[in-house]
Structures are given as structure tokens and as C-alpha cells.
């Protein structure tokens, strides 16, 4: 039981990070039909912004804020105006290819201009333990979980309880109708990109103490977020959250109780099962399109 609790908490913490990344994935898809295959590299990069700021002498928390700010500018604003907007009119596929190219550029750029070696990254809180029903639970895992939960709650409140959030949802559901109703669609789309940039920056700060900051981190994280989004439902934020959590917990439990060698296969088995039996995802809705 103690082991199970430890695995569960640890899996929830990892899953919560996946969820943040997957939520960004789905937000971009809903509002701009952008499948961002550079999403993993978007999570990798902010950690290096933070490290660069720390190398320049900034303490961790100000450096983290600098990292978030740079992410908003580069991964939010510049991404939208330089990559997405010019490619959008050519359809989904050219945009997908552009994001794949961007992922390679970001990865190789970090390798060349920073380092190919992993870098140590500070944890949010000092390492200490809490004993729960005989299990030793790390405060670092709890901190990761807490930050991720708070982020998702704030995002939910923003999307459902504010005027801007409802306008963003309207834009996601039907951009044409939203425009007729006077909603500034382009601004709402930009807000989505900014939200995604903040989400990936937070995910980066949460995951890098565990993964270490390295230029290849995006490969694993991007794939995890993509799978999580499909499992949960590509067109639902809550689906992405559920998908991320399922993935994190499943990964830990399967590695511990079934096989650590085949741990990478279990998420894919779930993915295949979802595609076969519920292609819209666990919480997704079926979308009909006129062709």
C-alpha cells in the first residue's frame, strides 16, 4: 500500500506536467487548427531561458519569471506571427510540417548555442519527505502537483468565468459566428498562443528538475503530450488533463507492477484502444465537418 501511494503521487505529479503540455496542445488546435509538433521543444526551451538568466546572475525565481516572459514573446507572439499566420492559409499539413521543422531548429539551436550536455536545474522546493499511511511522499512531487493543479484551475476559471475566456471558447467553437457577434477573433487566437506559452513555461520549470535540462527533452515530452491529448480528447481541455494524468499514473504503475522494460508500450496500447473504441477520446466530442 505504501509503495502504491508513492507511485500514485509520483505518477500524478508527472501526469499533471503532461496535462499542462497537452492542454496547450488542444488549445492551439481548437482555436487555430494548429497541431504543434514543436510542443515538446516548447517545453524544453524555457528551462534554458531560466538557466541563461541564472548564469547572468539572476536568482531562481526572477530567472523563472524571465523564462516565462521570454516564452510568451518567442513561443507565443513570434511563433504565431512568423510561423502560424503565414502558413495557416495553406492548410493543416504545411503548418504541421512547419512545426516539425521548428522543433528541429529549436533542438539543434539549443545544442549548438548552449550545450549538448544535460544541465542541472533547481527544484521548486528543497527536498524533504512527508509520511502518509506509511508511504514516504516527496514534497517536491507534491509541489509539482500543487502548481499544476492550481494552473489548471486558474485556466479553467479564465476560460469559463471571464468574458475574455468565453470569447476564446466561442472563437474555438465557431470562428465565423464569433466574428459576426463582434468578437475580436484574431486577438482571441493570439491570447491562446500566449496561454500556451505560459503553460509550456510552467511545465518546463516543473519537469526540468526531474528530467534535467537537455536539448532532447522535447522528444519524450512532446510525444507524451500528443498521446495524452488523443487519449483524453483533442477538442476538450478537460480531456487533455485527464489524458495527461492517466498517462503519468499508468507509466509509473505499469513500470512497477508489470514490467519496466515494456513501460513505454503501455501508453501506446491505451492509445490504440482509444482510437479503436472511442476515437473522439475519453472526454472528447465527435466533430462533423463539411467536405
Amino acid at each position: 500500500m505504501a509503495s502504491f501511494i508513492q507511485l500514485l503521487v509520483s505518477g500524478l505529479a508527472t501526469g499533471a506536467i503532461y496535462a499542462l503540455i497537452a492542454v496547450g496542445f488542444t488549445l492551439l488546435w481548437q482555436t487555430s487548427q494548429t497541431i504543434n509538433f514543436a510542443q515538446g521543444e516548447f517545453v524544453m526551451l524555457p528551462a534554458f531561458f531560466v538557466l541563461a538568466a541564472m548564469n547572468a546572475g539572476a536568482p531562481f525565481w526572477p530567472a523563472a519569471l524571465i523564462g516565462v516572459a521570454l516564452s510568451i514573446v518567442i513561443l507565443g507572439i513570434l511563433f504565431k506571427f512568423i510561423i502560424v499566420d503565414p502558413m495557416f492559409k495553406y492548410g493543416v499539413l504545411p503548418l504541421v510540417i512547419s512545426t516539425i521543422a521548428l522543433s528541429l531548429f529549436l533542438k539543434e539551436g539549443v545544442k549548438d548555442f548552449y550545450s549538448s550536455q544535460a544541465q542541472s536545474f533547481p527544484a521548486l522546493v528543497p527536498a524533504s519527505d512527508i509520511h502518509v499511511f506509511g508511504a514516504v511522499v516527496s514534497t517536491q512531487s507534491l509541489a509539482v502537483l500543487a502548481v499544476a493543479i492550481v494552473t489548471v484551475i486558474v485556466l479553467h476559471l479564465l476560460l469559463t468565468k471571464t468574458r475574455t475566456g468565453r470569447q476564446m471558447q466561442a472563437t474555438a467553437q465557431n470562428p465565423l459566428l464569433a466574428r459576426i457577434l463582434g468578437i475580436p477573433v484574431q486577438r482571441m487566437v493570439l491570447y491562446t498562443f500566449l496561454l500556451n506559452a505560459v503553460l509550456v513555461a510552467i511545465a518546463s520549470i516543473l519537469v526540468s528538475p526531474i528530467y534535467l535540462a537537455k536539448f532532447t527533452n522535447g522528444e519524450t515530452l512532446g510525444m507524451a503530450a500528443f498521446i495524452a491529448a488523443i487519449i483524453g480528447g483533442f477538442n476538450q481541455v478537460r480531456g487533455a488533463v485527464l489524458g495527461g494524468v492517466i498517462l503519468g499514473v499508468l507509466d509509473n504503475l505499469s513500470a512497477a507492477y508489470i514490467s519496466s522494460q515494456y513501460r513505454g508500450a503501455f501508453p501506446l496500447i491505451i492509445l490504440i484502444a482509444v482510437i479503436l473504441f472511442r476515437p473522439q477520446g475519453l472526454l472528447g466530442r465527435i466533430e462533423e465537418r463539411t467536405v
Binding site: L7, D112, F113, Y114, S116, D129, L212, T220, A255, S260
Partner: protein, 380 residues
């Protein structure tokens, strides 16, 4: 920190890749190394140690009056790419090849260099490398068949463990180490109560740590590559593992200590090569390395450095640039620091290309590796 094409040697070397004319006035010794990917820490340390030695030797006139010319080729930590890189440099008829460090890559490459009768000085430690009867492969660090008996003795006599858990990386290096370690444990009646494999490049070790805790072994033997070692140590400390964590060289390396950020304190084990060795020549090398590259060298840096001096010494002994004669002369040779200061410690190469020399028992204290005992050469 920001590195962009930093060494004159590399520039010189990149010209040399396509330079048969240059090759006549230089000794062409390409390096095939893990400069990116999972083995980047090992490969770049090996590279920098090697470059330091090359520049020292070239400054003194080179080998047999010829400057060493060393292009750097990245394996991306992938055995297939490594083989392709070796194939590429073989066209230029190298005198010898340096690297790679990953055992899986070495095992693939060494067939090519054997066919071409080119000596290959590798950083790989898998026991299998030198057990295939290849007369052209040499190491500058212990193979697992040499290091595991030492760590096993330490488990029995130093840690006094009756049960152990083993965490290993599922590649040629890790599997070879794990097999040799378990064999040595069995021969000493120490029971292996957990045998956990992990993947190269694995990021999350929480499930593995939980399994190790559940096994409740007297000690845990950790045999992973550098970055994975650091990630594991962070997770182990996070989950409050209080059993002795024992490693072999890598786990006590400075890069692992730095990446683990405090979580490496208390780790103990056998260290085949270390810049903290109580030997003035090693410490002088470490200081020169730090001064030039602005980071602390790990054991792979020493491997790279001594590999170049090994080539220099054997070549000057045979008096010609002949790969076949090199291989014959290098088997059974003993090189002392008096003969060749760059070799740092007396070393003997056996008939298989394995090295024997003194080694150390170490412990990580306050973020630094501390040597607590020097172990003699196995041959003494």
C-alpha cells in the same frame, strides 16, 4: 558555456577530413565520439581530454615529427551512425581511431577497424569488447571483468552486504556490467534481491526507486550512464532511500555529482579513473583541463588524454606509422610515467587489449569525490 567551434584542432581537423595531401605530413587519427545524444557527457569529456593531449604533443613536434590530425565525428550516441562514421574515415586510411565511448557503438565499429587493421583506442567498458579476439582494439579504462571483482570485494568487505539490489541500464554497457556483477555476487554468496533494468535516456526513475525500496536490500548497486545516474540519484534522495548507494566510476563522476545537485552525497564505490586520485600528475592534468575547458574533467577525460599518449608511446617505440606493428607492440606493454609522463599512472595492456593499473575506492562528500583507498594493479 556558449560553445561554437571552439578548438583550433577541430578546425585543422575538419580540413583534414578530405585532405590526403595533408595526411602525408600529419598523423591522421580521427575521433568518433558521442558529441550529442545520451552519451554526450562521456563523449565530450573524452574529446576534451584527447584535444588537450593532442595540442601538448603537437606543440612538442608531434609523433615521429608529424603533427596529429584529428577530425571529430559525432556518433549522436547511436551505434549505426557510429559505424557509418568509421566507414567514412577508413577511406582516408587512418593510422588509428579514437573512440567511441559507448560500448554498443564500439562493438559495431571494431569489426570494421579489425578488417582494415587499424588500431582503435576505445572508451567502452563492456567486457565483451576485448573478449572477441580482436587484436586491434585497446582500452584506456578498466573493462567490467576487471572492475566488477573489485566492486564485489568492496560490497562484501567494505559494505558487508548480504543482499543487494541492482539497477542497470539496458544497453551493452549496462547489460555487460550487470552480468559480471551478478556473477561476482553469486561467487561471494551475496543474494541479489532486486534486478531492475532501465532504458538509456530514461528520465523518470520514480517506479524504479519504489521497487528498490520494496526490495529492502542491504545495498544498492547502480550501473547507469551519467545523466541517468544523476536523475536516479535525485529521485532516490527525493524518495528518501537510506541504503548505501554503490557505484562503479560513473556514479561518482564529477558531472554526475554536479547534475545530481547534492543528491550524490554519500554515494560510494570503486573508481577506475579519477582526477581526485592522490597522484600529482593526475592532479596537474585535471588543473590544465579545468583551465582550458572551464569544467571539471571526469574519468572519460582521462581516458581520452591517456589514449593519445598511449598511441604516441607505442608508435615511437616501433619507430614507424604501421597499424599492424602497433597492435603487436601494444599487447603486453607496460608504460610508466617515467617513460611517458602523459600516461599519468603506470599501466599494462594485456593480450586482449585490456588495461591494468591501480584504482581507487571513493565516496562523495560535500559535492566532491573523496578517495579513501588506493587498490593495487590486479597483476600485482
Amino acid at each position: 558555456m556558449f560553445r561554437t567551434g571552439l578548438f583550433a584542432s577541430v578546425i585543422f581537423a575538419s580540413v583534414g577530413l578530405a585532405g590526403p595531401v595533408l595526411a602525408q605530413s600529419t598523423v591522421y587519427i580521427p575521433a568518433i565520439l558521442e558529441l550529442s545524444g545520451a552519451g554526450a557527457v562521456s563523449g565530450t569529456n573524452f574529446r576534451d581530454g584527447m584535444l588537450l593531449a593532442i595540442d601538448e604533443i603537437n606543440a612538442k613536434g608531434g609523433i615521429l615529427g608529424k603533427k596529429i590530425e584529428t577530425p571529430l565525428l559525432d556518433t549522436q550516441s547511436d551505434a549505426g551512425i557510429s559505424r557509418a562514421q568509421v566507414q567514412k574515415v577508413l577511406d582516408n586510411k587512418p593510422y588509428a581511431i579514437l573512440g567511441p565511448v559507448f560500448s554498443g557503438s564500439v562493438l559495431v565499429d571494431m569489426l570494421l577497424t579489425q578488417q582494415a587493421e587499424i588500431p582503435e583506442i576505445v572508451g567502452g567498458e563492456a567486457a565483451a569488447i576485448t573478449q572477441k579476439g580482436n587484436p586491434y582494439v585497446f582500452r584506456t579504462s578498466f573493462g567490467q571483468q576487471f572492475s566488477m571483482p573489485k566492486i564485489a570485494n568492496y560490497m562484501r568487505d567494505g559494505v558487508k552486504a548480504k543482499t543487494v539490489g541492482v539497477l542497470w541500464v539496458n544497453n551493452d554497457f549496462g547489460k555487460g556490467g550487470r552480468d559480471n556483477f551478478i556473477k561476482e555476487m553469486n561467487s561471494r554468496d551475496i543474494k541479489v534481491v532486486a534486478d531492475i533494468s532501465t532504458e538509456s535516456g530514461q528520465a523518470d526513475f520514480s517506479a524504479d526507486v519504489v521497487k528498490l525500496k520494496g526490495a529492502n536490500a542491504d545495498a544498492i548497486f547502480v550501473y547507469l550512464n551519467e545523466e541517468e545516474s544523476a536523475r536516479f540519484l535525485r529521485e532516490a534522495r527525493k524518495q528518501g532511500i537510506n541504503k548505501p548507494l554503490i557505484g562503479e566510476t560513473t556514479l561518482l563522476g564529477q558531472k554526475v555529482i554536479d547534475l545530481a545537485a547534492g543528491a550524490a552525497n554519500g554515494v560510494r564505490g570503486h573508481v577506475g579513473l579519477t582526477i581526485d586520485a592522490p597522484i600529482p600528475a593526475v592532479q596537474e592534468f585535471a588543473a590544465n583541463f579545468k583551465k582550458r575547458f572551464n569544467y571539471a574533467c571526469d574519468h572519460n577525460g582521462i581516458k581520452g588524454y591517456t589514449a593519445v599518449y598511449f598511441i604516441k608511446h607505442v608508435t615511437e617505440k616501433i619507430g614507424k606509422l604501421d597499424g599492424k606493428a602497433f597492435a603487436e607492440a601494444a599487447h603486453g606493454i607496460t608504460i610508466t610515467p617515467k617513460d611517458e609522463p602523459g600516461i599519468l599512472m603506470e599501466a599494462t595492456w594485456d593480450k586482449n587489449g585490456d588495461i591494468d593499473r591501480i584504482s581507487f575506492l571513493g565516496e562523495v562528500v560535500d559535492g566532491k569525490q573523496k578517495i579513501v583507498e588506493t587498490l593495487p594493479k590486479l597483476g600485482k
